[in-house]
Symmetry: C2
Subunit: 268 residues, 2 copies
Protein backbone atom coordinates (compact mmCIF):
# COMPACT_ATOMS: atom_id res chain seq x y z
CA UNK A 1 0.00 0.00 0.00
CA UNK A 2 1.43 3.37 -0.93
CA UNK A 3 0.70 6.68 0.77
CA UNK A 4 1.07 9.25 -1.96
CA UNK A 5 0.68 12.78 -0.61
CA UNK A 6 0.54 15.37 -3.34
CA UNK A 7 1.01 19.01 -2.34
CA UNK A 8 -2.39 20.72 -2.31
CA UNK A 9 -4.20 17.44 -2.76
CA UNK A 10 -3.86 15.75 0.59
CA UNK A 11 -6.52 16.90 3.09
CA UNK A 12 -4.01 17.56 5.88
CA UNK A 13 -1.64 19.63 3.75
CA UNK A 14 -4.48 21.62 2.28
CA UNK A 15 -5.78 22.49 5.77
CA UNK A 16 -2.36 23.72 6.78
CA UNK A 17 -2.00 25.91 3.70
CA UNK A 18 -5.40 27.49 4.34
CA UNK A 19 -4.23 28.72 7.66
CA UNK A 20 -0.88 30.40 7.29
CA UNK A 21 -0.15 32.97 9.94
CA UNK A 22 -3.02 35.36 9.36
CA UNK A 23 -3.13 38.30 11.66
CA UNK A 24 -6.22 40.22 12.64
CA UNK A 25 -5.08 43.02 10.35
CA UNK A 26 -4.91 40.64 7.41
CA UNK A 27 -8.27 39.14 8.33
CA UNK A 28 -10.04 42.50 8.41
CA UNK A 29 -8.10 44.64 5.98
CA UNK A 30 -6.44 42.45 3.35
CA UNK A 31 -8.99 43.41 0.72
CA UNK A 32 -9.25 47.14 1.37
CA UNK A 33 -6.93 49.24 -0.76
CA UNK A 34 -7.73 52.60 -2.30
CA UNK A 35 -6.36 53.88 -5.63
CA UNK A 36 -3.65 56.52 -5.67
CA UNK A 37 -5.11 60.02 -5.54
CA UNK A 38 -8.61 58.94 -4.54
CA UNK A 39 -10.36 60.86 -1.77
CA UNK A 40 -11.07 58.62 1.22
CA UNK A 41 -12.97 59.59 4.38
CA UNK A 42 -12.38 57.65 7.58
CA UNK A 43 -15.38 58.48 9.73
CA UNK A 44 -14.66 58.15 13.45
CA UNK A 45 -10.91 57.53 13.49
CA UNK A 46 -10.53 57.55 17.29
CA UNK A 47 -6.84 57.38 18.20
CA UNK A 48 -5.86 56.31 14.70
CA UNK A 49 -5.37 52.55 15.02
CA UNK A 50 -7.25 51.92 11.76
CA UNK A 51 -5.97 55.13 10.17
CA UNK A 52 -2.42 53.80 10.41
CA UNK A 53 -3.46 50.59 8.67
CA UNK A 54 -5.33 52.49 5.95
CA UNK A 55 -2.36 54.78 5.33
CA UNK A 56 0.07 51.87 5.16
CA UNK A 57 -2.11 49.89 2.75
CA UNK A 58 -3.11 52.83 0.58
CA UNK A 59 -0.10 55.17 0.87
CA UNK A 60 -1.07 57.20 -2.19
CA UNK A 61 -4.74 57.76 -1.37
CA UNK A 62 -5.76 61.15 0.02
CA UNK A 63 -7.21 60.20 3.42
CA UNK A 64 -9.29 62.51 5.58
CA UNK A 65 -9.77 61.15 9.11
CA UNK A 66 -12.38 62.77 11.34
CA UNK A 67 -13.41 62.30 14.94
CA UNK A 68 -15.58 64.27 17.31
CA UNK A 69 -13.11 64.01 20.22
CA UNK A 70 -10.18 66.45 20.14
CA UNK A 71 -8.03 64.31 22.46
CA UNK A 72 -8.45 61.20 20.29
CA UNK A 73 -7.71 63.20 17.20
CA UNK A 74 -4.48 64.56 18.73
CA UNK A 75 -3.40 61.01 19.59
CA UNK A 76 -4.22 59.87 16.05
CA UNK A 77 -2.24 62.71 14.56
CA UNK A 78 0.75 61.94 16.79
CA UNK A 79 0.57 58.27 15.82
CA UNK A 80 0.55 59.00 12.10
CA UNK A 81 3.28 61.65 12.41
CA UNK A 82 5.48 59.09 14.16
CA UNK A 83 4.86 56.53 11.44
CA UNK A 84 5.47 59.08 8.69
CA UNK A 85 3.36 57.17 6.16
CA UNK A 86 0.53 58.04 3.84
CA UNK A 87 -1.29 61.23 3.01
CA UNK A 88 -3.62 61.80 5.98
CA UNK A 89 -5.43 64.99 6.91
CA UNK A 90 -7.16 65.12 10.32
CA UNK A 91 -10.23 67.16 11.11
CA UNK A 92 -12.47 67.44 14.17
CA UNK A 93 -16.06 66.77 13.14
CA UNK A 94 -19.30 65.08 14.13
CA UNK A 95 -19.99 62.16 11.76
CA UNK A 96 -23.67 63.07 11.77
CA UNK A 97 -22.92 66.65 10.53
CA UNK A 98 -19.81 66.57 8.37
CA UNK A 99 -18.24 69.84 7.12
CA UNK A 100 -17.94 68.59 3.52
CA UNK A 101 -19.84 69.28 0.35
CA UNK A 102 -22.15 66.67 -1.16
CA UNK A 103 -20.32 63.98 -3.19
CA UNK A 104 -16.90 65.10 -1.89
CA UNK A 105 -15.36 61.64 -1.30
CA UNK A 106 -14.87 58.65 -3.56
CA UNK A 107 -14.61 56.19 -0.66
CA UNK A 108 -15.78 56.10 2.93
CA UNK A 109 -14.36 53.79 5.59
CA UNK A 110 -15.93 53.17 9.01
CA UNK A 111 -14.49 50.72 11.54
CA UNK A 112 -15.74 49.99 15.09
CA UNK A 113 -17.83 53.16 15.13
CA UNK A 114 -21.49 52.29 14.41
CA UNK A 115 -21.56 49.91 17.40
CA UNK A 116 -21.33 52.94 19.71
CA UNK A 117 -24.17 54.93 18.16
CA UNK A 118 -27.79 55.03 19.27
CA UNK A 119 -28.83 55.93 15.71
CA UNK A 120 -26.32 54.55 13.20
CA UNK A 121 -28.91 55.19 10.47
CA UNK A 122 -28.36 58.94 10.80
CA UNK A 123 -24.62 58.68 10.34
CA UNK A 124 -25.09 56.38 7.35
CA UNK A 125 -27.30 59.00 5.69
CA UNK A 126 -24.69 61.70 6.28
CA UNK A 127 -21.96 59.44 4.87
CA UNK A 128 -24.15 58.87 1.84
CA UNK A 129 -24.41 62.63 1.35
CA UNK A 130 -20.65 63.26 1.28
CA UNK A 131 -19.98 60.15 -0.82
CA UNK A 132 -19.99 60.53 -4.60
CA UNK A 133 -22.59 58.61 -6.63
CA UNK A 134 -21.12 55.17 -7.26
CA UNK A 135 -18.57 55.67 -4.46
CA UNK A 136 -17.75 52.83 -2.08
CA UNK A 137 -18.62 52.45 1.59
CA UNK A 138 -16.73 49.95 3.76
CA UNK A 139 -17.92 49.15 7.28
CA UNK A 140 -16.22 46.82 9.77
CA UNK A 141 -17.87 45.91 13.07
CA UNK A 142 -17.72 43.10 15.64
CA UNK A 143 -20.54 41.15 17.24
CA UNK A 144 -20.01 40.12 20.84
CA UNK A 145 -22.93 37.71 20.59
CA UNK A 146 -20.87 35.69 18.11
CA UNK A 147 -18.44 34.77 20.88
CA UNK A 148 -18.27 31.28 22.32
CA UNK A 149 -15.52 29.08 23.62
CA UNK A 150 -14.61 25.62 24.81
CA UNK A 151 -14.86 24.87 27.63
CA UNK A 152 -17.75 27.31 28.02
CA UNK A 153 -19.09 27.93 31.51
CA UNK A 154 -21.91 29.91 33.07
CA UNK A 155 -19.33 32.45 34.24
CA UNK A 156 -17.80 32.99 30.76
CA UNK A 157 -21.29 33.70 29.43
CA UNK A 158 -21.98 36.11 32.30
CA UNK A 159 -18.86 38.25 31.87
CA UNK A 160 -19.38 38.60 28.10
CA UNK A 161 -23.02 39.44 28.77
CA UNK A 162 -21.83 42.33 30.99
CA UNK A 163 -19.94 43.80 28.04
CA UNK A 164 -23.05 43.61 25.85
CA UNK A 165 -25.33 45.06 28.53
CA UNK A 166 -22.96 47.94 29.31
CA UNK A 167 -22.72 48.88 25.65
CA UNK A 168 -26.52 48.78 25.38
CA UNK A 169 -26.83 50.97 28.49
CA UNK A 170 -24.56 53.50 26.75
CA UNK A 171 -26.89 53.57 23.76
CA UNK A 172 -24.75 51.30 21.58
CA UNK A 173 -25.20 47.79 20.18
CA UNK A 174 -22.44 45.24 20.70
CA UNK A 175 -24.40 42.86 18.41
CA UNK A 176 -24.35 45.22 15.44
CA UNK A 177 -22.29 42.95 13.17
CA UNK A 178 -25.24 40.67 12.43
CA UNK A 179 -27.40 43.60 11.36
CA UNK A 180 -24.99 45.39 9.01
CA UNK A 181 -26.80 44.02 5.99
CA UNK A 182 -30.26 45.28 6.99
CA UNK A 183 -28.78 48.62 8.13
CA UNK A 184 -27.07 49.32 4.82
CA UNK A 185 -29.91 47.94 2.72
CA UNK A 186 -32.48 50.11 4.53
CA UNK A 187 -30.21 53.15 4.07
CA UNK A 188 -30.61 52.39 0.35
CA UNK A 189 -27.00 51.67 -0.45
CA UNK A 190 -26.52 49.56 -3.58
CA UNK A 191 -24.58 46.31 -3.98
CA UNK A 192 -24.53 45.64 -0.25
CA UNK A 193 -22.29 42.66 0.50
CA UNK A 194 -21.46 41.49 4.00
CA UNK A 195 -18.83 38.89 4.77
CA UNK A 196 -18.14 37.35 8.16
CA UNK A 197 -14.49 37.55 9.20
CA UNK A 198 -14.07 34.69 11.60
CA UNK A 199 -11.49 34.39 14.35
CA UNK A 200 -11.02 30.75 15.33
CA UNK A 201 -8.39 30.02 17.95
CA UNK A 202 -7.04 26.72 19.23
CA UNK A 203 -3.64 25.61 20.59
CA UNK A 204 -2.28 25.08 17.07
CA UNK A 205 -2.48 28.87 16.67
CA UNK A 206 -0.50 30.25 19.63
CA UNK A 207 -0.09 33.68 18.02
CA UNK A 208 -3.88 34.01 17.96
CA UNK A 209 -4.18 32.73 21.54
CA UNK A 210 -1.91 35.54 22.72
CA UNK A 211 -2.80 38.19 20.16
CA UNK A 212 -6.54 37.74 20.08
CA UNK A 213 -7.89 35.61 22.96
CA UNK A 214 -5.70 37.07 25.69
CA UNK A 215 -4.58 40.50 24.53
CA UNK A 216 -7.64 41.56 22.55
CA UNK A 217 -10.79 39.84 23.77
CA UNK A 218 -10.05 38.96 27.40
CA UNK A 219 -8.31 42.35 27.79
CA UNK A 220 -11.41 44.11 26.44
CA UNK A 221 -13.72 42.19 28.79
CA UNK A 222 -11.40 42.84 31.74
CA UNK A 223 -11.54 46.54 31.00
CA UNK A 224 -15.19 46.81 32.01
CA UNK A 225 -14.72 45.12 35.40
CA UNK A 226 -15.26 48.31 37.44
CA UNK A 227 -18.37 49.33 35.49
CA UNK A 228 -19.83 45.81 35.60
CA UNK A 229 -19.17 45.15 39.29
CA UNK A 230 -19.87 48.64 40.62
CA UNK A 231 -22.95 48.81 38.41
CA UNK A 232 -24.27 45.66 40.06
CA UNK A 233 -24.39 43.63 36.83
CA UNK A 234 -22.33 40.82 38.34
CA UNK A 235 -20.78 39.89 41.68
CA UNK A 236 -16.99 39.98 42.06
CA UNK A 237 -16.64 36.22 42.54
CA UNK A 238 -18.51 35.36 39.34
CA UNK A 239 -16.49 38.01 37.52
CA UNK A 240 -13.17 36.52 38.65
CA UNK A 241 -14.39 33.02 37.75
CA UNK A 242 -15.44 34.19 34.29
CA UNK A 243 -12.09 35.76 33.50
CA UNK A 244 -10.30 32.69 34.89
CA UNK A 245 -12.45 30.39 32.75
CA UNK A 246 -11.79 32.47 29.63
CA UNK A 247 -8.06 32.28 30.29
CA UNK A 248 -8.32 28.51 30.83
CA UNK A 249 -9.29 28.05 27.18
CA UNK A 250 -5.77 29.14 26.19
CA UNK A 251 -3.45 26.21 25.61
CA UNK A 252 -6.18 23.58 25.61
CA UNK A 253 -9.57 24.84 24.42
CA UNK A 254 -11.00 26.94 21.60
CA UNK A 255 -12.13 30.54 21.19
CA UNK A 256 -14.54 31.91 18.57
CA UNK A 257 -15.43 35.42 17.49
CA UNK A 258 -16.82 36.90 14.28
CA UNK A 259 -16.27 40.35 12.80
CA UNK A 260 -18.32 41.53 9.84
CA UNK A 261 -17.08 43.52 6.89
CA UNK A 262 -19.63 45.21 4.67
CA UNK A 263 -19.09 46.92 1.35
CA UNK A 264 -21.66 48.89 -0.59
CA UNK A 265 -21.94 51.48 -3.29
CA UNK A 266 -23.64 54.83 -3.18
CA UNK A 267 -26.54 54.87 -5.65
CA UNK A 268 -25.72 56.49 -8.98
CA UNK B 1 -12.88 63.85 -9.64
CA UNK B 2 -12.57 60.42 -11.25
CA UNK B 3 -13.97 57.16 -9.96
CA UNK B 4 -11.58 54.53 -11.20
CA UNK B 5 -12.75 51.01 -10.36
CA UNK B 6 -10.18 48.37 -11.12
CA UNK B 7 -11.32 44.75 -11.16
CA UNK B 8 -10.16 43.06 -7.94
CA UNK B 9 -9.04 46.36 -6.48
CA UNK B 10 -12.26 48.09 -5.59
CA UNK B 11 -13.67 47.01 -2.21
CA UNK B 12 -17.17 46.37 -3.56
CA UNK B 13 -16.05 44.24 -6.49
CA UNK B 14 -13.68 42.26 -4.34
CA UNK B 15 -16.48 41.44 -1.88
CA UNK B 16 -18.65 40.20 -4.70
CA UNK B 17 -15.94 37.95 -6.08
CA UNK B 18 -15.32 36.41 -2.66
CA UNK B 19 -18.86 35.23 -2.52
CA UNK B 20 -19.73 33.53 -5.77
CA UNK B 21 -22.50 30.98 -5.44
CA UNK B 22 -20.94 28.66 -2.90
CA UNK B 23 -23.11 25.76 -1.90
CA UNK B 24 -22.95 23.88 1.39
CA UNK B 25 -21.27 21.03 -0.45
CA UNK B 26 -18.57 23.35 -1.72
CA UNK B 27 -18.19 24.90 1.71
CA UNK B 28 -17.66 21.58 3.46
CA UNK B 29 -16.13 19.36 0.80
CA UNK B 30 -14.26 21.48 -1.74
CA UNK B 31 -10.88 20.50 -0.29
CA UNK B 32 -11.46 16.78 0.24
CA UNK B 33 -10.31 14.62 -2.64
CA UNK B 34 -8.65 11.24 -2.40
CA UNK B 35 -6.08 9.87 -4.87
CA UNK B 36 -7.04 7.18 -7.36
CA UNK B 37 -6.69 3.73 -5.88
CA UNK B 38 -6.35 4.86 -2.27
CA UNK B 39 -8.32 3.02 0.40
CA UNK B 40 -10.82 5.32 2.10
CA UNK B 41 -13.09 4.45 5.03
CA UNK B 42 -16.26 6.44 5.60
CA UNK B 43 -17.20 5.67 9.20
CA UNK B 44 -20.93 6.08 9.86
CA UNK B 45 -22.30 6.66 6.37
CA UNK B 46 -25.98 6.70 7.37
CA UNK B 47 -28.16 6.86 4.28
CA UNK B 48 -25.23 7.84 2.07
CA UNK B 49 -25.65 11.60 1.66
CA UNK B 50 -21.92 12.20 2.23
CA UNK B 51 -20.95 8.95 0.51
CA UNK B 52 -22.44 10.22 -2.74
CA UNK B 53 -20.39 13.42 -2.46
CA UNK B 54 -17.20 11.48 -1.66
CA UNK B 55 -17.75 9.15 -4.60
CA UNK B 56 -18.41 12.02 -7.00
CA UNK B 57 -15.37 13.99 -5.86
CA UNK B 58 -13.01 11.00 -5.68
CA UNK B 59 -14.40 8.63 -8.31
CA UNK B 60 -11.25 6.54 -8.49
CA UNK B 61 -10.68 6.07 -4.76
CA UNK B 62 -11.65 2.73 -3.25
CA UNK B 63 -14.28 3.75 -0.68
CA UNK B 64 -15.59 1.51 2.08
CA UNK B 65 -18.68 2.93 3.78
CA UNK B 66 -19.85 1.41 7.05
CA UNK B 67 -22.82 1.97 9.31
CA UNK B 68 -24.27 0.04 12.23
CA UNK B 69 -27.88 0.35 10.97
CA UNK B 70 -28.90 -2.13 8.26
CA UNK B 71 -31.79 0.05 7.05
CA UNK B 72 -29.58 3.11 6.61
CA UNK B 73 -27.01 1.03 4.82
CA UNK B 74 -29.61 -0.33 2.40
CA UNK B 75 -30.75 3.23 1.64
CA UNK B 76 -27.14 4.32 1.11
CA UNK B 77 -26.50 1.41 -1.24
CA UNK B 78 -29.66 2.18 -3.24
CA UNK B 79 -28.64 5.85 -3.47
CA UNK B 80 -25.17 5.04 -4.78
CA UNK B 81 -26.49 2.36 -7.16
CA UNK B 82 -28.88 4.93 -8.64
CA UNK B 83 -26.08 7.45 -9.10
CA UNK B 84 -23.77 4.84 -10.62
CA UNK B 85 -20.62 6.72 -9.60
CA UNK B 86 -17.47 5.85 -7.78
CA UNK B 87 -16.06 2.64 -6.33
CA UNK B 88 -17.99 2.15 -3.07
CA UNK B 89 -18.25 -0.98 -1.00
CA UNK B 90 -20.81 -1.03 1.86
CA UNK B 91 -20.47 -3.02 5.05
CA UNK B 92 -22.52 -3.22 8.26
CA UNK B 93 -20.25 -2.50 11.21
CA UNK B 94 -19.96 -0.77 14.56
CA UNK B 95 -17.48 2.10 14.30
CA UNK B 96 -16.16 1.24 17.75
CA UNK B 97 -15.34 -2.37 16.67
CA UNK B 98 -14.44 -2.38 12.99
CA UNK B 99 -13.89 -5.67 11.12
CA UNK B 100 -10.64 -4.50 9.52
CA UNK B 101 -7.00 -5.24 10.15
CA UNK B 102 -4.70 -2.65 11.71
CA UNK B 103 -3.43 -0.02 9.22
CA UNK B 104 -5.90 -1.14 6.53
CA UNK B 105 -6.97 2.31 5.25
CA UNK B 106 -4.99 5.27 3.92
CA UNK B 107 -7.75 7.76 4.68
CA UNK B 108 -10.68 7.93 7.08
CA UNK B 109 -13.63 10.30 6.67
CA UNK B 110 -16.25 10.99 9.37
CA UNK B 111 -19.08 13.46 8.89
CA UNK B 112 -21.92 14.31 11.31
CA UNK B 113 -21.25 11.15 13.34
CA UNK B 114 -19.25 12.05 16.47
CA UNK B 115 -21.98 14.48 17.58
CA UNK B 116 -24.26 11.50 18.25
CA UNK B 117 -21.82 9.50 20.38
CA UNK B 118 -21.54 9.47 24.16
CA UNK B 119 -17.85 8.52 23.86
CA UNK B 120 -16.41 9.81 20.58
CA UNK B 121 -12.93 9.16 22.02
CA UNK B 122 -13.50 5.40 21.71
CA UNK B 123 -14.42 5.61 18.04
CA UNK B 124 -11.42 7.85 17.35
CA UNK B 125 -9.11 5.24 18.87
CA UNK B 126 -10.64 2.52 16.69
CA UNK B 127 -10.29 4.71 13.59
CA UNK B 128 -6.67 5.25 14.53
CA UNK B 129 -6.17 1.48 14.66
CA UNK B 130 -7.48 0.80 11.14
CA UNK B 131 -5.71 3.86 9.69
CA UNK B 132 -2.18 3.39 8.34
CA UNK B 133 0.67 5.29 10.00
CA UNK B 134 0.75 8.73 8.35
CA UNK B 135 -2.78 8.26 6.97
CA UNK B 136 -5.25 11.12 7.04
CA UNK B 137 -8.34 11.61 9.17
CA UNK B 138 -11.03 14.11 8.14
CA UNK B 139 -13.87 14.99 10.51
CA UNK B 140 -16.77 17.36 9.79
CA UNK B 141 -19.23 18.35 12.51
CA UNK B 142 -21.63 21.20 13.23
CA UNK B 143 -22.07 23.22 16.42
CA UNK B 144 -25.61 24.31 17.20
CA UNK B 145 -24.29 26.75 19.80
CA UNK B 146 -22.71 28.70 16.94
CA UNK B 147 -26.16 29.63 15.67
CA UNK B 148 -27.52 33.15 15.96
CA UNK B 149 -29.69 35.34 13.83
CA UNK B 150 -31.09 38.81 13.34
CA UNK B 151 -33.62 39.62 14.57
CA UNK B 152 -32.97 37.24 17.46
CA UNK B 153 -35.74 36.67 19.99
CA UNK B 154 -36.18 34.77 23.22
CA UNK B 155 -38.25 32.22 21.27
CA UNK B 156 -35.57 31.59 18.61
CA UNK B 157 -33.09 30.91 21.40
CA UNK B 158 -35.54 28.55 23.11
CA UNK B 159 -36.29 26.36 20.07
CA UNK B 160 -32.60 25.95 19.21
CA UNK B 161 -31.91 25.16 22.87
CA UNK B 162 -34.46 22.30 22.60
CA UNK B 163 -32.40 20.75 19.81
CA UNK B 164 -29.23 20.95 21.90
CA UNK B 165 -30.92 19.58 25.03
CA UNK B 166 -32.55 16.68 23.16
CA UNK B 167 -29.24 15.68 21.61
CA UNK B 168 -27.61 15.82 25.05
CA UNK B 169 -30.42 13.69 26.51
CA UNK B 170 -29.67 11.10 23.82
CA UNK B 171 -26.02 10.99 24.90
CA UNK B 172 -24.73 13.22 22.08
CA UNK B 173 -23.22 16.68 21.93
CA UNK B 174 -24.67 19.23 19.50
CA UNK B 175 -21.81 21.58 20.46
CA UNK B 176 -19.08 19.16 19.38
CA UNK B 177 -17.68 21.38 16.60
CA UNK B 178 -15.89 23.66 19.05
CA UNK B 179 -14.16 20.73 20.73
CA UNK B 180 -12.86 18.87 17.67
CA UNK B 181 -9.37 20.21 18.25
CA UNK B 182 -9.07 19.01 21.86
CA UNK B 183 -10.72 15.67 20.95
CA UNK B 184 -8.26 14.89 18.16
CA UNK B 185 -5.26 16.26 20.04
CA UNK B 186 -6.04 14.15 23.11
CA UNK B 187 -6.48 11.08 20.88
CA UNK B 188 -2.84 11.77 19.90
CA UNK B 189 -3.41 12.43 16.23
CA UNK B 190 -0.62 14.47 14.59
CA UNK B 191 -0.91 17.69 12.60
CA UNK B 192 -4.41 18.43 13.88
CA UNK B 193 -5.87 21.41 12.01
CA UNK B 194 -9.41 22.64 12.50
CA UNK B 195 -11.05 25.23 10.27
CA UNK B 196 -14.44 26.83 10.82
CA UNK B 197 -16.74 26.59 7.79
CA UNK B 198 -19.09 29.49 8.22
CA UNK B 199 -22.58 29.81 6.81
CA UNK B 200 -23.61 33.46 6.65
CA UNK B 201 -27.00 34.20 5.14
CA UNK B 202 -28.65 37.51 4.27
CA UNK B 203 -31.12 38.59 1.58
CA UNK B 204 -28.33 39.05 -0.97
CA UNK B 205 -27.92 35.24 -0.86
CA UNK B 206 -31.41 33.89 -1.61
CA UNK B 207 -30.11 30.43 -2.51
CA UNK B 208 -28.68 30.15 1.02
CA UNK B 209 -31.89 31.50 2.56
CA UNK B 210 -33.86 28.68 0.92
CA UNK B 211 -31.17 26.00 0.87
CA UNK B 212 -29.75 26.50 4.32
CA UNK B 213 -31.91 28.70 6.59
CA UNK B 214 -35.27 27.27 5.54
CA UNK B 215 -34.62 23.80 4.15
CA UNK B 216 -31.69 22.74 6.31
CA UNK B 217 -31.67 24.53 9.65
CA UNK B 218 -35.32 25.45 10.26
CA UNK B 219 -36.35 22.06 8.83
CA UNK B 220 -33.99 20.32 11.28
CA UNK B 221 -35.33 22.31 14.23
CA UNK B 222 -38.93 21.68 13.15
CA UNK B 223 -38.23 17.96 13.07
CA UNK B 224 -37.87 17.76 16.84
CA UNK B 225 -41.17 19.52 17.60
CA UNK B 226 -42.92 16.37 18.91
CA UNK B 227 -39.99 15.36 21.12
CA UNK B 228 -39.53 18.89 22.47
CA UNK B 229 -43.20 19.62 23.17
CA UNK B 230 -44.24 16.14 24.36
CA UNK B 231 -41.07 15.98 26.43
CA UNK B 232 -42.08 19.18 28.21
CA UNK B 233 -38.99 21.15 27.13
CA UNK B 234 -41.11 23.96 25.69
CA UNK B 235 -44.77 24.95 25.45
CA UNK B 236 -46.49 24.81 22.05
CA UNK B 237 -47.02 28.59 21.81
CA UNK B 238 -43.34 29.39 22.40
CA UNK B 239 -42.41 26.70 19.90
CA UNK B 240 -44.65 28.17 17.20
CA UNK B 241 -43.32 31.64 17.94
CA UNK B 242 -39.72 30.43 17.70
CA UNK B 243 -40.22 28.81 14.31
CA UNK B 244 -42.13 31.86 13.08
CA UNK B 245 -39.32 34.16 14.28
CA UNK B 246 -36.68 32.02 12.57
CA UNK B 247 -38.66 32.17 9.33
CA UNK B 248 -39.00 35.95 9.69
CA UNK B 249 -35.23 36.35 9.28
CA UNK B 250 -35.61 35.20 5.66
CA UNK B 251 -35.87 38.09 3.24
CA UNK B 252 -34.85 40.75 5.74
CA UNK B 253 -32.53 39.51 8.48
CA UNK B 254 -29.42 37.38 8.83
CA UNK B 255 -28.68 33.79 9.80
CA UNK B 256 -25.39 32.41 11.14
CA UNK B 257 -24.08 28.88 11.63
CA UNK B 258 -20.62 27.36 11.79
CA UNK B 259 -19.48 23.89 10.82
CA UNK B 260 -16.00 22.67 11.68
CA UNK B 261 -13.73 20.60 9.49
CA UNK B 262 -10.75 18.91 11.09
CA UNK B 263 -7.89 17.12 9.43
CA UNK B 264 -5.17 15.15 11.15
CA UNK B 265 -2.58 12.51 10.47
CA UNK B 266 -2.14 9.16 12.16
CA UNK B 267 1.22 9.11 13.97
CA UNK B 268 4.00 7.39 12.03
Amino acid sequence: MSLSYVHGYDPVESGRLDDQARTLEDLLHHDTRYPAGSRVLEAGCGTGAQTAILARRSPDARITAVDIAAASLAAAKARLDALAIGDVHFEQADCARLPYADNHFEHVFVCFVLEHLAHPENVLLELQRVLAPGGSLTVIEGDHGSFYCYPQTRATRRVVRCLIDLQAAGGGDALIGRRLYPLLARARFDAVRVAPRVVYVDPSRPAWEEGFSRNTFIAMVSGVAPAAIDGGLIDPATWRQGIEDLEATIGQGTFHYTFFKATARNPL
